[in-house]
C-alpha cells in the first residue's frame, strides 16, 4: 500500500484510499500501452456515487490496451498527511503515482470543484498550466456537463471532450495508442485530435478582448482547426454501451445503491435548467433493456436497492409498465426500487407505494418559484393547484414529511414573487390540516429550501444578471413572513452561488483567479465548511477582474459569449426566442406537445442533429 498504516489509521475514513472494491478492474500493467487516470475532483464517497463516472470507467477498461484507474481528491486530513510524507497523488487500483500515466482525465460535475482540479494537479506533481507541460507528462483532459463552458479551466487542460464519453472517447484513445506506438509527441497528438468531433484543444485558439473587457474575437490558430466544436452524443440508448456491473464500495457512499438510467435528456424546457438543454435530445431506454440492466447490476453488485435515474421520471413514456415489471421481479428478492425526481400526482404516488418506497423518507416537490407568473417566466409547467392537490394526496397516503424547493433571484422576480414562496408553503400546511384528525397521526414536517439562482450557459437565462445584491434581503423576507412552526426554512450561503455563477459564465481570464485562489488555500469549495468567500474577493482583486462583470452584469444578445465556440446543437436564435418569451411570462409547450425548434430536428423516431 502506498499510504502507511499509520497514515491510514489517523485519517478520518481510511476506506476512501484503499480501492479493492467489488468489480474493480485489475490488469497487468506491463501489458498495457495506455494508462488513464480517471480523476473525480471531490471526495471518494461523492465520486463513487456518480453513475456517469462508473460507466466511463468500465467503458475505457473494455479496451485491452488501456487500463483506467481512479483518483479522488484526498480529504484535507489525508492531503496534509500526503504532503508531509511527500506522497504524490496516486491511483487506487495500482497505487502508482498519477505522474506516470498517459492521461489524467477530470470529470467536471460542478463549478465549485475547479479548485480541486488545480489542487490535484499540484498533488500529482504535474505542472499546473498546460503551456508548461512537456513530453513525459500526462495529457490532462476534462469532460462532464461543466465543459460546455470550458474557458475558466482553459489554462490548465490540454484538451476538453465535449459531450457524452461513451459516444466517442474510444476514437481518441485509438488515435493516442497509434500515435504513441509511432513515437509521436504530445503537441502533434493534440493537433491531430483537434479535428475530431467533440475535441477542444484550447491552446489552438486565441481570444482578444475589447476596451470594455468583452470578447472581441475568438478564433482557431489554423484553418484545419474547427471554429466550432460539436458535442458527441449517444444516438440510440438501447444499444449504447452499458457495463452490466458497477464498482461496489466497501464503505458507505452518498448514493449507496444500484442505478439504472431510464432516459437521458428532458422533454421540458425549464429556462433556468442547464441539464434540460445540454442533454438534449431525449433518448429513452426500453423497459426490456432497463430490466435486463437492472438484473445484471443487482446480481453483480449485491445491492438491495435500485434507483431509476432520469431528469424527470414521470416523463418516462410507460412509467407504470416499468414499475410493474421491476416490482414483480425484484420485490420478492427484498429489493427496493426507488424513483427519484417524480412529479407528485396520483399516478406517481401509486407507483411509489407499488415500488415499496418508504414513506419515512419524505417527498420532494420542486415548484421552483412561488407565484404563477414566476413559474411561467421559468417555463415550469405546473400550477399551484397541481402542487396543492399533490400535497393533499401525499398526506392522504400517509406522508407527513415534505420538502419544497424554490429558487431566489430568478430574472424579473419582485418582492411579491418572493412573498408567494412562504404563502405557498403555508397553503401546503393548510392542506394537511384540511384532513380529518384521524388521518393526521404523524407530526407535519415541511422543509422549505430556497437556493440562489445561478445563470448558466446554454439556457435562455445565459444573458441574465445574477441577483447578487438581492439574495440576502430576499432570504430575510421569507424568514420574516413565515409564522407556522411546521415549516423549517433552509437557505444557503449566497456566496457559494455567486462564485458558482462567476465560474459558470467565466472566460479564460478566470484561469488567473483560480490559480490565485488555489494558492490562498481554496479547495473543496462545494463543501460549505471549506468554502471561503474572502479568498475569492482577494483573488479577484489581485488579478484585477470584476466579480460584477461576470455575475451581476446583464449580457447583450450580440455579445460574443465565452462558450460560443461550443456547439451543443441548440441554436442561439432558439435561446433568444425563449428569453424573449420569458420576459412576457409566456410558456413554451414541452417537446411531446410540440416542437419549439431548439436546433435538433424532430422526426418520428425522436430528435437528431442530422
Amino acid at each position: 500500500m502506498i499510504l502507511s498504516d499509520d497514515m491510514l489509521l489517523r485519517a478520518e475514513k481510511p476506506g476512501r484510499y484503499i480501492g479493492n472494491e467489488i468489480n474493480m478492474a485489475e490488469k497487468d500493467v506491463s501489458r498495457i500501452s495506455v494508462r488513464f487516470a480517471f480523476c473525480f475532483p471531490d471526495v471518494y464517497e461523492v465520486g463513487m456515487s456518480h453513475l456517469g463516472a462508473q460507466i466511463l470507467y468500465f467503458y475505457i477498461n473494455e479496451r485491452e490496451d488501456t487500463y483506467c484507474e481512479r483518483v479522488y481528491a484526498p480529504w484535507p486530513d489525508m492531503e496534509a498527511e500526503m504532503r508531509a510524507a511527500g506522497t504524490a497523488l496516486f491511483a487506487l487500483e495500482t497505487g502508482d503515482p498519477v505522474k506516470v500515466f498517459d492521461f489524467m482525465g477530470f470529470t467536471l460535475q460542478y463549478e465549485l470543484s475547479y479548485t480541486n482540479v488545480v489542487n490535484m494537479l499540484d498533488l500529482a506533481g504535474i505542472p499546473l498550466l498546460a503551456a508548461e507541460r512537456g513530453e513525459g507528462c500526462p495529457i490532462v483532459c476534462a469532460g462532464g456537463p461543466c465543459v460546455v463552458n470550458p474557458e475558466p479551466l482553459a489554462d490548465f487542460i490540454d484538451f476538453f471532450y465535449i459531450g457524452e464519453g461513451e459516444a466517442g472517447l474510444n476514437d481518441i484513445l485509438d488515435f493516442y495508442a497509434a500515435h504513441k506506438a509511432d513515437g509521436g509527441g504530445r503537441r502533434a497528438f493534440l493537433r491531430r485530435i483537434a479535428r475530431e468531433r467533440g475535441v477542444y484543444v484550447p491552446s489552438l485558439y486565441t481570444v482578444t478582448y475589447d476596451a470594455d473587457g468583452l470578447i472581441e474575437s475568438f478564433a482557431p490558430i489554423a484553418d484545419d482547426i474547427p471554429a466550432r466544436i460539436k458535442k458527441c452524443y449517444v444516438k440510440d440508448f438501447n444499444v449504447s454501451y452499458f457495463p452490466g456491473k458497477v464498482l461496489t464500495p466497501l464503505i458507505e457512499i452518498v448514493q449507496d445503491r444500484a442505478v439504472v438510467e431510464i432516459f437521458r435528456g428532458c422533454i421540458h424546457g425549464c429556462r433556468f435548467c442547464q441539464a434540460g438543454y445540454i442533454y438534449r435530445p431525449v433518448r429513452e431506454r426500453g423497459i426490456e433493456a432497463i430490466r435486463s440492466q437492472a438484473e445484471q447490476i443487482l446480481s453483480s453488485s449485491g445491492h438491495e436497492e435500485i434507483s431509476m435515474l432520469s431528469l424527470s421520471a414521470s416523463d418516462y413514456s410507460n412509467c407504470g409498465g416499468l414499475i410493474n415489471t421491476l416490482a414483480e421481479r425484484l420485490t420478492p428478492r427484498h429489493i427496493n426500487v426507488s424513483l427519484p425526481s417524480l412529479r407528485i400526482d396520483r399516478l406517481s404516488l401509486e407507483l411509489m407505494s407499488k415500488a415499496g418506497e418508504i414513506r419515512r423518507s419524505g417527498l420532494t416537490f420542486a415548484p421552483e418559484a412561488g407565484s404563477q407568473r414566476m413559474r411561467d417566466v421559468i417555463n415550469k409547467g405546473i400550477t399551484e393547484t397541481d402542487i396543492l392537490n399533490g400535497a393533499k394526496m401525499a398526506f392522504e397516503s400517509g406522508w407527513s414529511k415534505i420538502k419544497l424547493y424554490f429558487m431566489l433571484g430568478l430574472p424579473s422576480e419582485t418582492d411579491d414573487d418572493v412573498m408567494a414562496i412562504p404563502r405557498l408553503a403555508e397553503r401546503v400546511v393548510g392542506q394537511y390540516y384540511s384532513l380529518p384528525k384521524n388521518q393526521r397521526s404523524q407530526p407535519l414536517n415541511i422543509n422549505l429550501s430556497a437556493s440562489c439562482f445561478v445563470p448558466k450557459p446554454f439556457t435562455p437565462f445565459q444573458w441574465a444578471s445574477q441577483d447578487v445584491y438581492g439574495f440576502m434581503e430576499k432570504q430575510r423576507l421569507i424568514k420574516k413572513t413565515l409564522t407556522k412552526k411546521q415549516i423549517k426554512f433552509n437557505y444557503h450561503d449566497a456566496g457559494q452561488s455567486i462564485i458558482e455563477a462567476l465560474l459558470a459564465r467565466g472566460d479564460r481570464r478566470q484561469g488567473r483567479v483560480l490559480l490565485d485562489v488555489w494558492r490562498r488555500g481554496a479547495k473543496f469549495e462545494g463543501w460549505s465548511e471549506f468554502f471561503n468567500y474572502d479568498l475569492w474577493t482577494r483573488a479577484l482583486e489581485n488579478t484585477g477582474l470584476s466579480l460584477d462583470f461576470y455575475t451581476a452584469r446583464q449580457r447583450r444578445y450580440d455579445e460574443i459569449l465565452p462558450w460560443d465556440h461550443i456547439d451543443i446543437n441548440i441554436t442561439k436564435m432558439f435561446l433568444i426566442r425563449e428569453m424573449e418569451k420569458a420576459k412576457h411570462a409566456e410558456v413554451t409547450p414541452n417537446c411531446r406537445e410540440g416542437c419549439a425548434g431548439c436546433g435538433f430536428i424532430k422526426t418520428d423516431r425522436g430528435c437528431a442533429d442530422e
Binding site: 499509520d6 489509521l9 476506506g15 479493492n20 472494491e21 464503505i251
Partner: protein
C-alpha cells in the same frame, strides 16, 4: 430455517473496513453469492446476520465468527463457503462454515474473551512494564462510556499477558458482558502499539477457553 456459523479472516486492505461497513459488505456478498438469506419481518426487512464480536477498524482478525440465517438447508456448508469466498472482496476469507444446532446459543452470546497480538513501540522495558502491571491487584483507568468518563478497574479483564521481544500477546475479556480494547491496555502499560491482530475469540466450556467456532 437454518443457521450457519462462518469462521473468517479479515486482513490486508479489508482491515480498513469498519464494523458497520463490514455488515454491508457481507450482506452484498451474500446477495451476490445468491444464498437464500432469511429476512427479518417488519417495515424495513433486513438479512439476519450477526457478528460475534465487532472488530475495530485497522485490526487484523484471523478467526472471526459471524452467524447467518438461511431459509432452508438446500446448500451445503462447503458450498456456502465457496460461494461466499467467490463474492468477497480481497482480504476477507471464510475458512470454515458449519450449520448450528437447533438449540445452540448464538456466537455473540457465547463470546467471553479474545486473544490479541500486537507490536509495542518503543519496546523499551516492555517485559518489566508487563510484569509490573500483572503484579497489581487493580489497574484503574478512566474509560469513556455512555454515561461519561468513568474510572474502571481493568485488571479483571486481563486474563493473560505475555511478551516476546517487541510483541505482546494478550487474552482480554471480549463480548457482550464486558470487554477490554487492546489500545486501552496499551494505555495502561504506557506503550503505543501497532499491527494489532485478533488471533482468536473464545467461549468457555467447563471453565476452559475454547475457540468460539468449534463444538468440541
Amino acid at each position: 430455517m437454518s443457521r450457519v456459523l462462518l469462521l473468517f479472516a479479515k486482513t490486508d486492505k479489508a482491515r480498513f473496513i469498519g464494523h458497520l461497513d463490514l455488515i454491508r459488505v457481507f450482506q452484498r456478498a451474500i446477495n451476490r453469492a445468491n444464498l437464500p438469506a432469511a429476512y427479518s419481518g417488519g417495515f424495513n426487512p433486513h438479512q439476519k446476520l450477526a457478528f460475534a464480536v465487532p472488530l475495530a477498524l485497522g485490526m487484523d482478525g484471523r478467526n472471526e465468527a459471524a452467524e447467518l440465517e438461511l431459509t432452508g438447508d438446500s446448500v451445503s456448508a462447503a458450498d456456502i463457503m465457496d460461494r461466499l469466498n467467490a463474492a468477497m472482496p480481497k482480504g476477507l476469507l471464510i475458512h470454515a462454515a458449519r450449520f448450528m444446532e437447533g438449540n445452540e446459543e448464538s456466537a455473540a452470546a457465547l463470546a467471553v474473551a479474545a486473544c490479541y497480538e500486537m507490536r509495542a513501540r518503543p519496546p523499551d522495558n516492555l517485559a518489566e512494564k508487563v510484569r509490573e502491571l500483572i503484579a497489581r491487584k487493580s489497574v484503574v483507568i478512566s474509560k469513556k462510556t455512555k454515561n461519561g468518563v468513568m474510572d474502571t478497574d481493568i485488571r479483571p479483564d486481563i486474563v493473560s499477558l505475555e511478551v516476546f521481544d517487541d510483541t505482546l500477546r494478550a487474552v482480554l475479556s471480549a463480548g457482550g458482558q464486558r470487554g477490554l480494547r487492546p489500545d486501552l491496555l496499551a494505555g495502561a502499560l504506557g506503550v503505543s502499539i501497532c499491527q494489532v491482530t485478533r488471533v482468536n475469540v473464545y467461549k468457555t466450556v467447563n471453565g476452559v477457553f475454547k475457540p468460539l467456532f468449534y463444538t468440541f
